[in-house]
């Protein structure tokens, strides 16, 4: 063993978690699954409590729920979808809370792992958003949605040779991929940063000649933890508003 050298753990030790039960099965339940389930349950509990109170002046949990509904309405649906967007509120609000709680576990002690730093959660939600916005487009505009997206009006005919493949790739292939990768990579990067500075702190603690540098590393760790709170919120928000923008683009394709 090398004493005092900085030894970064292998990536699978940082992001992979052993199953709690059902090892090797499709229903294997590990920490990521637990966090996902917990995110769903916490959200449900918040809204169940908020819905059962019904006070004229909201306080506590009811306040959280109502503020978040207002937030999704005013900051996500209004700029993203525009009119007719109210009916997508349940999905968007579920998405926002699910992602936020899955993200925020990255800085909560004893979890220390954002569920979205694994590709599963982002890809599921991104594919859902993809299916959803294509479905909205087909439902409201029929096949003209696809043709309108692939052959944008006002473009000279020969340019369709160039425009159509680009539109196809950017609208129907890149969107879910970039949506998932954005969230996943942000959270994984944050997680790896936190792990790096934690490992650095531990190494400095055990390595007496450089123990004076420990406060710097610890300060960085704390600052990054605060930054990760912001990132957790921001990434949930961006994922939700991008979904809303895609749905809005499918609902009002003339814009």
């Amino acid at each position: 063993m090398i004493i005092g050298a900085l030894q970064f753990p292998p990536i699978e030790n940082v992001v992979e978690w052993p199953a709690w039960f059902g090892q090797g099965q499709a229903y294997a339940f590990n920490k990521i699954a637990f966090i996902n389930l917990l995110a769903a349950i916490i959200t449900i509990v918040i809204f169940a409590i908020a819905g059962s109170k019904k006070q004229l002046v909201p306080r506590g949990v009811q306040n959280i729920a109502e503020v978040s509904v207002q937030f999704i309405r005013n900051e996500v649906i209004a700029p993203g979808i525009g009119h007719g967007g109210e009916r997508y509120l349940p999905m968007l609000i579920s998405m926002f809370f699910f992602l936020f709680f899955s993200n925020i576990t990255g800085i909560i002690p004893l979890f220390n792992m954002p569920a979205t730093a694994r590709m599963a959660t982002p890809i599921v939600l991104a594919l859902l958003a993809w299916v959803w916005f294509i479905g909205v487009g087909l439902k409201h505009h029929g096949i003209r949605y696809i043709t309108g997206a692939l052959f944008p009006p006002g473009v000279p005919k020969p340019l369709y040779l160039l425009v159509t493949p680009i539109e196809f790739v950017s609208t129907f292939l890149v969107r879910p991929f970039s949506l998932a990768v954005r969230l996943f990579a942000n959270m994984l990067a944050g997680h790896i940063l936190l792990v790096t500075f934690s490992v650095l702190c531990i190494t400095l603690w055990g390595f007496k000649p450089l123990v004076a540098a420990l406060p710097l590393s610890l300060f960085m760790l704390i600052a990054l933890t605060g930054f990760e709170v912001l990132v957790a919120f921001l990434q949930a928000y961006i994922f939700t508003i991008l979904t809303a923008v895609y749905i809005g683009g499918a609902l009002h394709p003339e814009h």
């Binding site: 753990p9 699978e12 978690w17 700029p79 990768v181 942000n186 928000y237 508003i241």
Partner: protein, 102 residues
């Protein structure tokens, strides 16, 4: 949990390095090349989005300073623009992970 893994890893390395040092040199060389190119990949991927995000935020700040009443709309649009621009850097980060750890 990861620390336990880490300890096991270190201990196992101590027991096994002598046994198959010859077999690991090729893998080590690949890992070293991967690690260095991973650094280049991420460093290069970060340049463009860094400039882009700086430009977006700067323009957004000047827009907000000019018209504070439309700050909310500008902020939303700014976050969207940052999200699109940042995607490039994040793809670079994914490439980094692929080169470094896989």
């Amino acid at each position: 949990m990861s620390l336990l893994h880490h300890a096991i890893e270190l201990a196992s390395e101590a027991t096994t390095t002598a046994a198959d040092s010859a077999a690991t040199t090729a893998a080590d060389a690949k890992a070293a090349a991967g690690a260095s190119s991973a650094g280049y990949a991420y460093g290069l991927a970060a340049i463009g989005p860094g400039i882009g995000i700086g430009y977006i935020v700067g323009q957004a700040v000047s827009a907000m300073a000019r018209q504070p009443e439309s700050a909310g709309m500008v902020r939303t649009t700014m976050f969207l623009g940052i999200a699109f621009t940042e995607a490039l850097a994040l793809i670079g980060f994914v490439v980094f992970i692929l080169l470094k750890f896989v």
